[in-house]
Assembly symmetry: C2
Homo-oligomer: 466 residues x 2
């Protein structure tokens, strides 16, 4: 028996779905329900201490929709489950995504209840998109949002992704490196992400390299011969001793010494950075930079920056890579329209906004002051004054419109990074800070949308007041 591959790719992604999507789709199909549905993807709340999220992952959502197709193997597996009819599986084999998608550009700061994307397609087709799209947009939005905070905390110093080893699997490591580029990181240690996305990669040595040599100074010497401009890891045995060995190496090499920096990975990094800086400066090595790593998150970075630690860049791994304090958002993909009528689920405390929507960002003197979520299908609903509509049509009839930047995914990615930088700079400072913004950034619901919601609730009758 051959070992089947557990790798996901464009060819088997259609089956990476929750079984209930397929049972529902078969039901729609047998009932002849093929009216257009609108599904909205959004989150309801921000984690504590967060005042914005950064939308990310659209590119992979669109790639999925472009390639959505059930292979013969997939259909055979489904047939074996004993609950799908042959007629339905025939249709499923020919089904392609032919709907429209409206979305926030990647890199846009986004707030609770605002759609990151809306899918408009016949209900069986739109339903099939749920699990995969959410898996990708949720992940990348979670990681871009976390990384954006680390970048804010670093106040212009370089932030580097060291997360690969403890991120949740291979896809998180890849899509994370992508999301980090959007969020403004300087580089990643992930070589495959460099190859695929064209993002800068970086890395020099680990403790094991030092350990496998009998002598730390000898290890530094050997490594520097091969990589004259490297960064030397100085904390394998005793950090300041390690720094002194770098100084000795500089004396030994004279003009040939081109070491770019040292890395501190343990201990009281702020204090060690100050002492290392003194040792280096006293030896005339003012150009040798200091990098810090080891268990850092945005709060650790902010503390080091606030303490005036002479650190030029931060390597950040597990905390950012798993978004440790908030590894998920309460993101949902909710039906809001079917066959031209607004639809809601009625749960106490969980407001759903029906229909197709547009998000308007209102600015005053170049600073965003509030957002308004309005009906997209009613120009009368909301008259923007100084507002920009954020959702763009990125797919029409199953084909990309190019509104997200065109066919070159590297151009799309760089554009997303530019978007994030520009849009974050326009947020009020309190919203960008590491604490809860007080007051929170205002997100209003337009009158027309509010009215539509009440109309839909009245129609559903069952529940007196929500």
């Amino acid at each position: 028996m051959t070992r089947p591959s557990a790798w996901v790719n464009d060819g088997n992604a259609a089956l990476l779905t929750d079984l209930y999507e397929l049972t529902m789709v078969q039901a729609y199909w047998h009932e002849g329900m093929d009216g257009d549905a609108v599904f909205s993807l959004y989150f309801r709340t921000l984690p504590p201490g967060r005042s914005y999220a950064l939308a990310c992952g659209l590119e992979d959502a669109l790639r999925f929709l472009e390639n959505l197709q059930f292979s013969q193997e997939a259909l055979a597996y489904l047939a074996d489950q004993g609950q799908f009819t042959a007629e339905f599986l025939d249709w499923l084999g020919t089904m392609r995504f032919d709907g429209d998608v409206f979305a926030l550009p990647e890199g846009t700061p986004v707030f609770p209840e605002e759609p990151l994307l809306e899918v408009v397609a016949p209900v069986p087709v739109a339903q099939l998109a749920e699990s995969f799209i959410m898996n990708q947009v949720h992940l990348q939005t979670v990681l871009a949002s976390k990384a954006s905070r680390v970048v804010q905390a670093a106040e212009g110093r370089a932030v580097i992704d060291f997360g690969l080893r403890r991120m949740h699997g291979t896809d998180a490591a890849m899509k994370g490196a992508r999301a980090y580029h959007v969020a403004g990181l300087a580089a990643t240690s992930n070589v495959l992400a460099g190859q695929v996305y064209g993002v800068p990669i970086t890395g020099t040595m680990a403790h094991s390299y030092i350990q496998s040599h009998d002598d730390e100074a000898e290890a530094f010497r050997s490594f520097t011969e091969l990589y004259p401009e490297t960064v030397l890891l100085v904390d394998t045995y005793d950090t300041l001793e390690g720094v002194h060995k770098v100084v000795e190496l500089a004396r030994e090499l004279g003009d040939r010494f081109q070491v770019r920096g040292i890395r501190l990975d343990s201990g009281d990094v702020g204090e060690l950075a100050k002492q290392s800086r003194k040792i280096l400066d006293a030896a005339g090595l003012g150009e040798v930079r200091i990098f810090a790593s080891g268990g850092l998150d945005e709060y650790g970075v902010a503390e080091l920056v606030a303490a005036g630690a002479p650190i030029d860049g931060f390597g950040v791994g597990t905390h950012m890579g798993t978004s440790r304090d908030a590894p998920s958002l309460d993101m949902v993909y909710k039906l809001t329209t079917y066959a031209g009528e607004g639809r809601l689920k009625l749960s106490p405390g969980k407001r759903i906004l029906p229909g197709r929507k547009q998000v308007w960002r209102i600015e005053e003197e170049g600073v965003a002051v509030r957002d308004v979520i309005a009906r997209a299908d009613d120009a009368e609903d909301f008259t923007p004054q100084g507002g920009r509509p954020l959702l763009q049509q990125v797919m029409s009839g199953g084909r990309r419109t190019g509104a997200d930047g065109g066919a070159d995914p590297r151009a799309v990615l760089d554009r997303a990074r530019d978007t994030a930088r520009a849009e974050l700079a326009r947020l009020p400072e309190r919203v960008r800070s590491l604490e809860d913004a007080d007051p929170p950034y205002p997100v209003e619901v337009s009158e027309g949308l509010t009215r539509l919601r009440h109309d839909v609730i009245e129609r559903l009758e069952e529940v007196p007041s929500v």
Copy 2:
């Protein structure tokens, strides 16, 4: 320009590594350092409230090592980076993993400092394994450990994986479903995981299906026609109203009513389950089971079980899927031997155990009472009394030994599930509970290993006391 694929597979996995692994490996190679290294993969501490972890992910680590190979595309990308020599890249292109691997069987409960696996290979080759192996073993161990707690909390009731949409990417969703099978889950909603791993899949309907129909009762009727033995989701509008509609449907269908259960997804699930049970029983529907979902974790499940809520199974998603309270372990892959000599990194508070090790589990009357970590290379070191050695040689000279269950990955997986069930049953009850075990499960270090560690530290001289 074609859109390059960001999908990881056996062909490009070699490049899914931290750049420093490659720069170190080139340095070893140019220095002629090809002595055997031992690297140990282990974690240092357990998250709060956890008293064991469940080892998982070995299969994917071995698959990686079997397939480890740099493609021409990978080598070309590395050549473009300007820091690798042509001679080294020639060697890298021919390099294969030809070392030995010793590992805990998947499904084994594991404690801090105990190696999950040890790699023995020439140092450049062993170093190259780090990033990928850790990415896989860390992920699957984190998710299996979390899921194992949910299974314990459910006390025999079915636990089902609903996590796909908010797990961290496609690989986490796949490997998570695999890890959950090891941990004892009943099924997953992830269809591709069903196809690839042969694990049971399950799923019926979401709120969107109810919403897209004009009437909840009509939606129930239509779905039941197609799937007579389905589970109906009753909380779209008003939960108990929904249950009454199920009762009406049963009256309408008479003998043809075969609905297997209802699902509660919001509100006070424990209370709603009690009321639903009463309504169903009063209607003679005692065989209709009640399933609960919605924001559950092991504590939520335990609370419902303790309250006597009449719930027959739990659908668990995001909290388990991201291991929300502990999304990472402080897992490391540390050099412990090079060229026959024990090696250590000296960091305050971070003990490293040198050399190749064996973990002995000592049992009394069928219950594990303590583990002893001993030298693997010295039979004199430790005389097990009633102890079993846990690490097995699973790879020899780059080839699988079959000790993990042979060439059929589904047999390997089922065996891991059996291992987990059997080994967990042998742990003391305090260790399996949801609170910190008091006292913690004892893990001792043998005299011989303690002596070896002191010898290595003495040799390194630099640090007076650690």
